[in-house]
Amino acid sequence: MAQHRRGLRPAAALAFAAVPLGFLAVFFAWPVAAIVRLGFGSGAAGVLRVLGEGATWRLVGFTLAQAAASTAVAVLAGLPVAFLLARVPGSALVRVAVLVPFVLPTVVVGLAFKALLPDGGVVAIVLANAFFNVAVVARTVGGLWAHVDRRAEDAARALGASRWRAFTSVTLPALTPALGSAAAVVFLFCATSFGVVLLLGGARHRTLETEIYLRTVELLDLPGAAALSLVQFLAVVGVLVVGAVARRRRENALSLRGQAETVRRPRGGEWVAAGLGYAVVVLLVVPIVTLVVRSFAGGTAGYEALAGTGFRGSLQVTGLEAALNSVRVATDATLLALVLGVLASVALVTLGRSRVRPGVVEAVDTALMLPLGVSAVTVGFGYLVTLDALPGDLRTSAALVPLAQALVVTPLVVRTLLPVLRSVDERLRQAAATLGAGPWRVWREVDVPLAGRSLLASAAFGYVVALGEFGATSFLVRPDTATLPVVIGRLVARPGELNNQMAYAACTLLMGVTVVIALLVERLRVRGVGEF
């Protein structure tokens, strides 16, 4: 028999992947490479000087230490919540309550913790970073936990293990891949966290990310900033590789049970875990409530001020104009990210099904994830350095911001869509083929209907993230087209109580929109699949 394959050929899949990879090359790899070159521009001396400074290593130390502490807090707080999501009935509300912090714009979270802990400092930074990422831990781990066969635990109990012993010796090892993958992602997010650290740390507590920003924008020390970007980039690649390994183990481990079989009311000691979970959920709500309360501290003055440009014209746009800018930019970014993300997911899942070496698939996968971890500030900075070389007037054009945001959103689309596409049973597709469906028809009849809801969910999710994007946007946006998060950042940095009230009001509005969309995502989500 002649060689023939069903479905997309690997060559076609690679052509599909070429589009997002090309985008990645122009709008990510090139700017980052330019930063690297800039770092070495005046010879290696500039970089070596920066690397030789004690201050640099204190910066690296603080960045890693605060990320590690935040990750630890997020994991410890996330585990009981994961238990709630996986094993206790009626967790839909909990699910939403943990999702909301994750999608809140960084400036909103920063401001909420500023209202809560006015003195700021390291504790505020760690708590705020953890606050964001409890959702990542709870949902990633909870997703796996929900499908871990409860009978393995029962077997351990029947063999004489206590409930706690059964948890540590049976359940926890089963959850390790998800825990590892979640911790790696959280560490990455915390290490490159920008808005929160800038708002809460100010000039006192600086990480690599904020230092890059400060050196570029305020000290104009480009070689120094580039050298720091380089250090950060290397760290991120390292963490991503660890995450990819953990993820592979997890996807191998998915031969599991339906969720309905594993949910029941807690018993005995399980109530302690459930209680801790509920306590975490309550704690997550506190900063949100504080923010809303603070926004009404001066009556509705803050909200009324949104129609204007702030105290003594602090801004070049009114709050309402900024909101409209945000909506417009986020829409463009989401559409672009959807096109790129769908192409990338289809390519990855096709390559995965073909007999291409798994290493190739993983390499493409990891490459697509890089923007998620590499500091948005570095990328924004890179744009400023490189995009003059492109035809047209891209560097100063309004199209630049959606491009940068799409870079951040695309990996999220891929991570939401890809697991669902991968979970479609190959034999279901073969059944369609034996019934006369050609390769494209199989996609239309089987994959698209099964993954359609996830596509919508990823679009909504991406939209929220684009809406709240702060790091790259604050670098690239012009003052007269500022988005809402950028405006908030600017208001907080300027004096005047009116500016403060206006910032809190804007945050509350942004949060409202975010929560509504998060609820939409929750409704559209396919149960138990997807990583966020």
Binding site: M1, Q3, R6, R427, Q430, T434, L435, E445, P449, L450
Partner: protein, 336 residues
């Protein structure tokens, strides 16, 4: 007619299917029978076009190499149904008709007709998630039959069901295949199932077809020791060893079905080493003097316990000749 010749499938260095030949005439059913891992499912998938192999798969003399799976017109039923979860029962059955562009009215009529045929009339609007295992397999069968496939391929269609349901569905499946006049290739590891469904049986082992014949032929004359054991002969031995019972009923190699030896007043004695309850009898393992370990049956009432001394009698009807039947003997049997 489906004709497979010289078909081989390799996974890396492992030969899953080696140089297999068989034919399935129009309207007949061939069962591929063999233990798990013998390559029978791979062979089926290669016929469907889902695996790449060497050799040829021909339909009415036309080589299907290079014809992709969706243009072969071969229906396939998986062990676990693989129904489309986002479509209801009717939507599943209508799928192949939609792919073929059948007009709506005709499609609806055909769906109703097939659901009646598999005994699920009135279930058209049910969600597939609400169906029991047996119902799911019925829908899968109706779905595969709806576009009138040239050949129906069934991969362990009943193995996921429990025993009572399996036996009932095997009878229904045999009826449906007969009524619809379908040419079918069915893979199974269960010889009862194979003999119920098929006109002819191909016994596979280690990627090769060892014996092809009607169920009667295969059952009455296994081609070698392994096949005899696979078909349920507890012992395969030289007929001469049966001399302890008196004059041997045959010559050459013979297989002993469990029913060949039963507890009763006979010349051979032994000790019961194990007993298993079967539906209408008790199966014993007996360490028999001069014969070694053999299976024997006893009535359920007063069946001997483990450790008991028993005597055995030989029932010549349970002794099967094993080995290549010579042409002469086949012709002799045909004349008889």
């Amino acid at each position: 007619m489906l004709a497979v010749s010289g078909l081989s499938v390799r996974y890396g260095t492992v030969a899953a299917v080696s140089d297999v030949d068989f034919e399935v005439p129009d309207g007949s059913v061939l069962a591929l029978l063999g233990p798990s891992g013998c390559g029978k499912s791979t062979l089926l998938r290669a016929v469907a076009g889902l695996e790449v192999g060497t050799g040829s798969v021909c339909w009415d003399g036309v080589d299907l190499s290079g014809v992709p799976v969706h243009r072969r017109g071969f229906g396939l039923v998986f062990q676990d149904g693989q129904l489309f979860p986002h479509r209801d029962v009717a939507g599943n059955v209508a799928f192949g008709l939609r792919m073929a562009g059948t007009p709506r009215a005709e499609r609806d009529a055909r769906v109703g007709e097939l659901l009646e045929l598999v005994g699920l009339g009135g279930h058209a609007a049910r969600r597939v998630g609400e169906l029991s295992g047996g119902e799911r397999q019925r829908v899968a069968l109706a779905r595969a039959l709806a576009p009138r496939p040239r050949v129906l391929l069934l991969d362990e269609p009943l193995s996921a069901l429990d025993r009572a349901l399996r036996e009932q569905l095997a009878v229904d499946l045999a009826r449906v295949l007969r009524v619809s006049g379908t040419t079918a290739l069915v893979v199974t590891h269960d010889h009862d199932e194979a003999f119920t469904l098929a006109d002819r049986v191909a016994v596979m082992r280690a990627g090769r077809v060892r014996q092809v014949g009607t169920p009667d032929e295969v059952w009455a004359h296994p081609v070698d020791d392994e096949t005899a054991r696979f078909l349920g002969c507890g012992r395969v031995l030289d007929a001469a060893e049966l001399a302890v019972f008196g004059d041997p009923p045959r010559r050459g190699r013979v297989g002993l079905r469990p029913s060949a030896l039963r507890v009763g007043p006979g010349p051979v004695h032994g000790e019961v080493t194990a007993r298993v309850h079967r539906r209408d009898h008790v199966l014993l393992v007996v360490a028999a003097e001069g014969l070694g370990r053999v299976d024997a049956v006893a009535g359920i009432a007063a069946a001997p316990q483990v450790g008991a001394r028993v005597s055995l009698v030989l029932d010549p009807g349970g002794v099967v000749p094993v080995g290549q039947p010579s042409r002469v003997s086949i012709r002799d049997r045909a004349i008889e």
